[in-house]
């Protein structure tokens, strides 16, 4: 059996997560190094990895034709593990001000705000982890939370957040309604007053409000989604399309509990299921993966 991995971005969310404390056997591992290790192990096990984005897939009588740029790969079974894309606020001027004061990657751009005042929009665990990272650099931090309390972050991260004391001011039941600035972000307009004003002057705004799965290709193949838009799978990671599996953040099998360890578990199950399918039904398709250029 040959395995081809079409890699969009190296390492996914884990690579940008900084230190990982909840992956067994690697306490405090650097996410980037951990993903490098994953990739090396996959290559050493015989997987071929190419860079590219899958732009289309067709079910061709037991074979799957997968388009990656100008090339088409033919495979006997597919696993979708393309993860999820960071959600944006959906505000006017957000795109224009991205990387000009509006950011979605703390580990990348957080250090640029050394000594500055920034805000984080969020409420989940990733946003609290982002604040813990940002606090190493910035002077002051506003945590803008739509809910009236924090219920989703992991307790250990909430404890660390408490230790930051007055450096972090949490604005509950508050949303960002408008982004203001010429050439770069200068302030945001809040949904309610803070300190007598709805204007909050900041140097940078970081957004960690979850992610949505990228399901364009699987749905074009007829793969069904669940009620909230993730790929629907059974306990063996099988989708409704025979021979097609899914794993990682593109499925919601463990609900909001999405970690590197859960993604790895889902991936292991999907890979085993795909292999079993290949053994049982591999003769439906008279090729394993091969490539044709258009």
């Amino acid at each position: 059996m040959k395995t081809l991995v079409v890699r969009g971005n190296f390492g996914g969310e884990t690579a940008t997560a900084g230190q990982i404390w909840n992956y067994p056997g690697a306490p405090g591992a650097d996410g980037y190094d951990l993903m490098k290790s994953f990739e090396k192990q996959a290559k050493d096990s015989g997987a071929e990895i190419i860079n590219g984005k899958v732009t289309g897939a067709k079910n061709n009588s037991g074979c799957f034709d997968v388009e990656v740029g100008p090339k088409t790969y033919h495979a006997k079974t597919l696993i979708f593990a393309q993860g999820a894309e960071r959600r944006h606020l959906g505000l006017a001027r957000e795109e224009e001000l991205t990387a000009k004061g509006v950011h979605y990657c703390v580990t990348c751009d957080g250090p640029l705000y050394t000594g500055k005042t920034v805000a984080m929009v969020g409420g989940g665990d990733a946003s609290v982890k982002g604040i813990l990272d940002l606090a190493k650099y910035v002077d002051k931090l506003y945590f803008i939370v739509r809910a009236d309390k924090l219920t989703r972050p992991e307790p250990v991260n909430l404890e660390e957040l408490d230790k930051l004391g007055d450096k972090v001011i949490t604005l509950y039941s508050t949303e960002v309604k408008e982004l203001v600035g010429e050439g770069k972000l200068e302030k945001v307009i809040l949904s309610r007053e803070f300190d007598g004003s709805r204007e909050l002057v900041i140097d940078g705004l970081f957004v960690e409000i979850g992610a949505k799965p990228d399901v364009f290709v699987p749905t074009s193949l007829g793969v069904a989604l669940d009620k909230i838009g993730y790929i629907n799978v059974d306990n063996l990671m099988q989708t409704n399309v025979p021979g097609v599996y899914a794993a990682g953040d593109t499925v919601n099998h463990f609900g909001p509990f999405k970690q590197t360890i859960t993604a790895a578990a889902l991936g292991a199950v999907a890979a085993t299921s795909a292999y079993n399918y290949y053994k049982k039904h591999g003769n439906l398709c008279q090729t394993h993966w091969k490539v044709t250029s258009q």
Binding site: T98, C108, D109, P111, L112
Partner: protein
């Protein structure tokens, strides 16, 4: 200036994954580069902002060309990496 001796500079932050990926890529292809930490170098940070109009890293300067973000294809094209 030939493809091979274009000066390469990376404007990066120490924790930026895509900066690391860029540096790993250049190292793997034996391309020498200057790494500029814009988290600690305020002058370089200001230069980067003025040159690109944005504050995201990495920024890769290859000769007179600028690439924002880790773009293997574009880097390879500018450096003649096959």
């Amino acid at each position: 200036m030939t493809m091979e001796n274009k000066k390469v500079k990376i404007y990066s932050t120490p924790t930026c994954v895509w900066c690391r990926a860029t540096k790993d890529f250049l190292t793997e292809h034996n391309v020498p580069f200057e790494d500029i930490n814009v988290a600690s170098d305020a002058v370089a940070r200001e230069y980067m902002f003025k040159r690109t109009g944005q504050m995201g890293v990495p920024v890769i300067e290859i000769g007179n060309d600028i690439i924002i973000g880790f773009n293997e294809e574009r880097i390879s094209e500018l450096l003649g990496i096959s």
